[in-house]
Subunit: 472 residues, 3 copies
């Protein structure tokens, strides 16, 4: 018989009784606020089809979630045993009960990890599971989840309402005609799900299939992209389309934060070289750095908030990439530099109050050294919440501790769940609200802020900052 | 009606009752010790003129303090609205009541920041303000401060005595004839205010107006600087003059910690190229690195303590620099490297017990990785307190936590307030003493040190280390 | 009269009463478990000779321990005054009572340092000292230690049993014929002391006396090393010999984590250039990076666990190196990079479950940024415990806080004492067990793990992980 699931009401608060009391009071004020989800990766198809089904428990919780399977893989569990499809169509485990059993047998690996915290919360509060997940309880819990997933209450739209989501942005390629978002709007369903303009595939010259993406850009925009000038026009066209579909933001990913302006002639030359299939690695770097500046300019013009995610070395494991493709838990952070890299962009556009540039980063050593001083000075700059590996209890505490003294809370943007694991959304927001309540309670009991300020701060972190920064 | 100002007696101590009790006992032992201010930027003119007046509350607390106005600027408040003078003489707000109102309307931005803590302490304990600063209370508080500033008790010399300052060093250009320090000495006033020799403007070949500064150096030293050799002689002459005026230290700023010795011939060649206005960027780097070594040599000879401040990218925002000049809150830290950069200097002079080299840095990742191991080995090296953005509650806690285990407390130098905001000095020392009391109390309650050791340590951090390291 | 030595039973646990209670319960479950010492530098001669004597208290505790004397040196105490032998045979203090007195006079320097904690524990629990070490008590304590050292209970083998050491690995040159290990095995003594294969001197082409080491390699292996091919054969021969002597692991040190495969022809060319005394610095870098890959390949074949220690700039102080030699407390960490540097090795061998690569590092900024994400993905990779300067109370807490959320506990390897200071071993393990108990108790009182999981975790950190990872 498995133990009882462990999810105490006062979880994640510090142990000091006075701090905990204040934390609980602050948390209670925001625990049930609607969720603002301004950056994430949920599939909009879920909401377009009112009868969308999540499949099996393994389909929902294991197979698509690289946070989960990377940990088992790191301990020698083959990807195939977890049902991860191979690119070559090779045999993988098809029996989802077996996949689930393997997962449950290794669930101890998630002790003290954010994935463990989210899954525990999710199993309990979304699926009503009350016993601890382990090898012995695995199949009972599988049955329980599978039964729930078969009911109408577990359709995505029903959960959207149950989760109390006020606003959700997906992340979509610049060339995406957004059929699901169109279907959502036409359906009359009231859930507010909007797209986000992510042009990496047409901006990064070294992206796989860049030329194909440019062809798609021509097709979707109706502007034949045959020069740098027509390329800019097509991008502006797409931004307008996304904005018309409700988008409030764009998103850009880059290995480094390098920015730098090219002359129109230089940009044209590189662009044509790329069209001819002859762009160099240096071309790609220079062009991305230039296009970040162009995107800032367009944001000033059309009002879309600009997000920049920096620092991931994608697909670090060549064997896994070849066998399973991208997003297999093998993206590894690298050291970051912002002071010099962002200077061209901030020097030109950083004083613009019409621009909101939200920065995400995977090198915590830059928090206090570069990011907080930059955000505490430039009107255009805001800092995104701790990203990816740092979207965790300790990661959020470090962010608060390292950033706020210099940047001030107002130069941050609240929480992003940034997830494709839809049913984990309430767990993620709840963890964040608890960590912030605990942090602010710490400020109260140390005499740093009074209760009046603390109550404003928790509203900011849980709800208001995200809504304001993303122009929701 | 505004709330009561929040400044509890037990502020900044951790919430654990036992730790807090020990912290309060330790703090009580040093709370009223005299202040040693061995590095700062207070204007010596204040003390030269017995009738010096601070002007309006905005003149005192806002307009000269880039810690304050950068935060409002980051949230879209124009510099002009805060009364910051433009270089082109363009219109800025002249009504200091309006400037103050704008500041008060945004005072919430300083929640949980060191500037917020200092200002709160300062308003309360220097000016007797008892209500919280906000838009509603702004004008009443303005009146209260303005009334105090008009009284003789608020002349700088009177505050110096009230603040219980035992020693204060200003920071002065190598070419400064130090008229205010001379006036102070002649006046018979007993306050100990001494200069610090800062030769950056004549050492860094890429400093604005380097050649003008060299002319000034010739003039003030009486040694015509026409070669590297006469240049060294003039510097030695100035050091002797500063020392005669009471200086105990020099100060040097550099973007990186690069050091390296040139041959006399190389130094002469570069110096003459610079005199001819033809020095390159590489010349500047090499020459600064060489002169740091020369300054160490001179310190061994004349006994002046050598300070080195490394890591700030100055004037990052070109628009602001052009419009308002330097020191506008746009100096941003960069990643640091010390192990390789300091090796030439430490290899040659680091074993010298006659040298004290105090290092300040803006990259906290070097604390445990490089600085503590270096300071825990080389007899000449000491670590300055957390600097600038890190002179904060969390910053000081991180410094203690990251540095002391490896470097030992004896290789640090106590606290520097490093400020030009004169009335904030008691608040800054008080915050530091509280944070240290809390840190040491944590060591006591965790059984790491006994009370006997703890009582020695708090005396060290609050008073003795600064006095010893700076040869006060 | 000196104070009582300060070593409370509840030391190193946090002050919160509930957390402390849980921590004490967890600690009690592992406090008396046998010690696994899978990486260290104890001299095997100690165990080969049943009558081995440690010499004087200074011989045992001061003269060989650079952790100790570097701190006194940093405060101006000459190495000579501490009895450290000079390479030129120059005069050093021969009176060990005087050396001890100098040490005791400065013992305050170790307040709040790991060396201070270890020494205090060691004096009390190994030598029964009950008064605090200071100038006044120095000679009494010297007498007490000296008396103990003269007894049979203080022979190394007797202490091995008293310390409850289950397994100890020394660290030995690839060319070492391991006479002491052979003597231990022949002696019939049951203590399990095994060698570890460390080939740096024959792998790093820029090692002092590389060619002499190659000659020794030929001699000891019986394979004439005259080519890259014979070199590999000789290394494989030595690995087999070490394995036969009980070794379970190899160890490799490098300034950076650079790895990269050369073609056999390239390797041969560089190797022959080195044999001819003409290898360049670039050759050395390339060859070390290549040999790390070869060592991984050999580990896959022979099953020896591979350890890699990265990041120390050795012998930073030229004066000290010239006068006293290596290991004088002047090894200083440098910034690390793993994401790109380890990619060749991990790309080729990281998916191999037959390989265990344990990584040690001196740049804490890589913990959360690079090491935890890498270890949380690659099956072959494990993270060694906090190394050197970071083998400390705060260092261990940071490691747990920065690593576990992403890597999971199972991708770490428990504790290494990594010491040549034999009698400090119980103190080091005890500190580690207390810090882990406190960390896990923190997880319990914050509701992150339940007590059931906590009890598994403390067994893992104190005993099981080390045993499993090192194949003990």
């Amino acid at each position: 018989m498995a133990s009882k699931m462990h999810l105490p009401d006062d979880r994640y608060f510090g142990p000091d009784p006075r701090q905990k009391e204040v934390a609980q009071r602050l948390y209670a004020q925001v625990a049930n606020l609607p969720l603002i989800c301004p950056h994430g990766h949920v599939d909009p198809r879920m909401f377009a089809d009112p009868d969308y089904s999540f499949g099996s428990p393994a389909d929902l919780l294991i197979i698509p979630d690289h946070y989960v399977f990377r940990m088992l893989y790191s301990q020698g569990v083959p990807m195939e045993a977890l049902g991860i499809p191979r690119k070559d169509g090779g045999t993988v485990e098809k029996d989802h009960r077996k996949v689930w059993q393997t997962f449950a047998d290794h669930f101890r690996l998630f002790r003290a990890t954010p994935t463990g915290m989210w899954l525990t919360h999710e199993l309990f509060s979304v699926f009503g599971v009350e016993e601890k997940l382990c090898g012995e309880s695995a199949q009972r819990i599988y049955d329980q989840i599978a039964a729930k997933l078969a009911t109408p209450e577990f359709r995505p739209r029903a959960l959207f309402e149950r989760f109390n989501i006020e606003f959700m942005s997906t992340t979509d390629a610049a060339t995406d005609p957004l059929p699901h978002h169109q279907a959502i709007r036409k359906s009359g369903w009231k859930g507010r799900v909007v797209p986000c303009f992510r042009p990496d595939a047409v901006v990064n010259l070294d992206a796989a299939d860049w030329r194909k993406s440019i062809q798609a850009l021509s097709a979707v925009s109706g502007i034949e992209v045959k020069s740098y000038k027509t390329y800019l026009a097509a991008l502006e066209n797409r931004r307008a389309f996304f904005k018309g579909m409700g988008a409030t933001a764009t998103d850009h990913a880059a290995t480094t934060a390098y920015t730098g302006e090219l002359s129109v002639r230089q940009a044209e030359t590189i662009f044509r070289r790329a069209l001819a299939g002859k762009a160099t690695a240096e071309d790609a770097t220079l062009f991305t750095g230039h296009m970040l500046m162009e995107m800032a300019r367009m944001s000033i013009e059309d009002g879309l908030v600009m997000q920049l995610h920096v620092g991931s070395f994608r697909n670090h494991n060549p064997l896994l990439y070849e066998r399973f493709g991208a997003d297999m838990g093998a993206d590894i952070p690298t050291a970051g530099e912002f002071t010099r890299n962002l200077r061209p962009l901030l020097g030109k556009y950083g004083n613009e109050t019409r621009l909101t540039l939200i920065l995400f980063n995977l090198d915590e050593s830059t928090y206090s050294r570069e990011l907080a001083p930059l955000a505490g000075h430039y009107p255009a700059l805001r800092l995104g919440p701790p990203w990816w590996f740092f979207d965790s209890l300790n990661g959020m505490e470090r962010f608060r501790e390292l950033v706020i003294e210099t940047a001030g809370l107002a130069n941050t943007v609240g929480f992003n769940d940034d997830t494709r694991a839809y049913p984990s959304i309430p767990a993620r927001h709840d963890l964040s609200r608890r960590v912030d309540a605990n942090w602010i309670a710490g400020l109260v009991v140390r005499g740093i802020v009074d209760v009046e300020d603390a109550e404003e701060m928790i509203q900011d972190t849980a709800y208001r900052l995200a809504k304001q920064a993303y122009k929701v």
